[in-house]
Amino acid sequence: MTNGHDEAFHDIDLAPGDEHAEGGIAERVLGYLTGLGLAVLLTATSFFVAGTDLVWEPSIPVALVVLAIAQMGVHLVFFLHITTGADNTNNVLALAFGILIVVLVMTGSLWIMANLNHNMMPMDQLMRMQR
């Protein structure tokens, strides 16, 4: 019982961007180096995929989007230290809400505009009607 409560007391929240205090300097630098290495790898893959003939062409946009999302994840974890730990719950929930709004704005705009574009009368007919 007492132990459980002690644990709860130590389970204090982390500010976004803060790391757990236990890691030494070398360990933390290694964390940033890991992040840098993964980010360089993903960026290089993105630029390679965009400019190559080796990949089936219709799959390129999807591959680029997936690579970008993966790299954003790498940055979030290794640079911003947004993790799934219990001390990070508030930060993750705020991020989840932000992502929800971003996805709504992007897909909503593209969807609505594509639909309007599809249903709009061709420009030459429109011009003829206005005359």
């Binding site: 500010a15 976004p16 803060d18 960026t43 680029l64 911003l80 991020l95 709004i101 909503g108 705009s109």
Partner: protein
């Protein structure tokens, strides 16, 4: 600090409750700034949506395929990524209260940020010189608004970076200065995340079509 409060509810049973008190100021400040960054990303998402909708509306003018130089963009990306890494080193130095390493890492971050901005401004001026300025087509308006908005954020970040160097020099690693360093690092890393979306959506996808 935490204490345990024993309370009795209406039914007479006793409940044990954690009472941890208000969060430390570092968490409150960092969390508030995190909310700001997320709202900034929501603003950027509107610009991204605009760009994606207007991508084909070139009004007979040049398209992304004709204009973008992907080698330049790759160099820009490298500079911004490296600056994000050195900004992380500056954070570690600030936590270790090492002034020399902090100033050195921040100076390198500033140099990388300025290199990024220089390449971007050269690209903008060459586009305008080739008659592909923001007034040429809806596509170019959206392009200059989105990429320019990111560039303005980087410029503001560099000003903030220099301010933090001066404040650490003059005042040392006081608790309030440390909170500002935390917020600055969040801001700088967030700019790099937005740049990932920019080089993917604007340059790589934009020059594919």
């Amino acid at each position: 600090m935490s204490t345990i409060v024993l309370t009795e509810d209406h039914h007479g049973s006793t409940a044990v409750r954690d009472w941890s008190g208000p969060a430390p100021k570092r968490i409150v400040t960092g969390y508030g700034f995190w909310i700001f960054i997320l709202s900034d990303m929501v603003m950027f998402s509107a610009f991204f949506a605009t760009y994606a909708v207007l991508l084909g509306q070139t009004a007979g003018g040049p398209s992304g395929r004709d204009l973008f130089d992907l080698r330049n963009v790759a160099i820009e990306t490298g500079f911004l990524l490296a600056s994000s890494f050195t900004c992380g080193l500056a954070t570690i130095a600030a936590d270790a209260r090492n002034k020399i390493w902090f100033q050195a890492a921040m100076a390198v971050t500033c140099a990388f940020g300025l290199a990024f901005l220089t390449i971007e401004l050269r690209e903008f001026s060459s586009l305008v010189a080739r008659g592909a300025g923001p007034t040429r087509s809806a596509f170019l308006s959206a392009f200059f608004t989105l990429v320019g908005c990111h560039g303005m954020h980087v410029s503001a970040g560099i000003l903030w970076l220099l301010t933090m160097m001066a404040q650490v020099y003059a005042k040392g690693f006081r608790a309030d200065i440390q909170r500002r360093i935390l917020c600055f690092a969040l801001f700088w890393h967030a700019l790099d995340i937005i740049w990932i979306a920019v080089f993917t959506v604007v340059y790589l996808l934009g020059s594919a079509k």
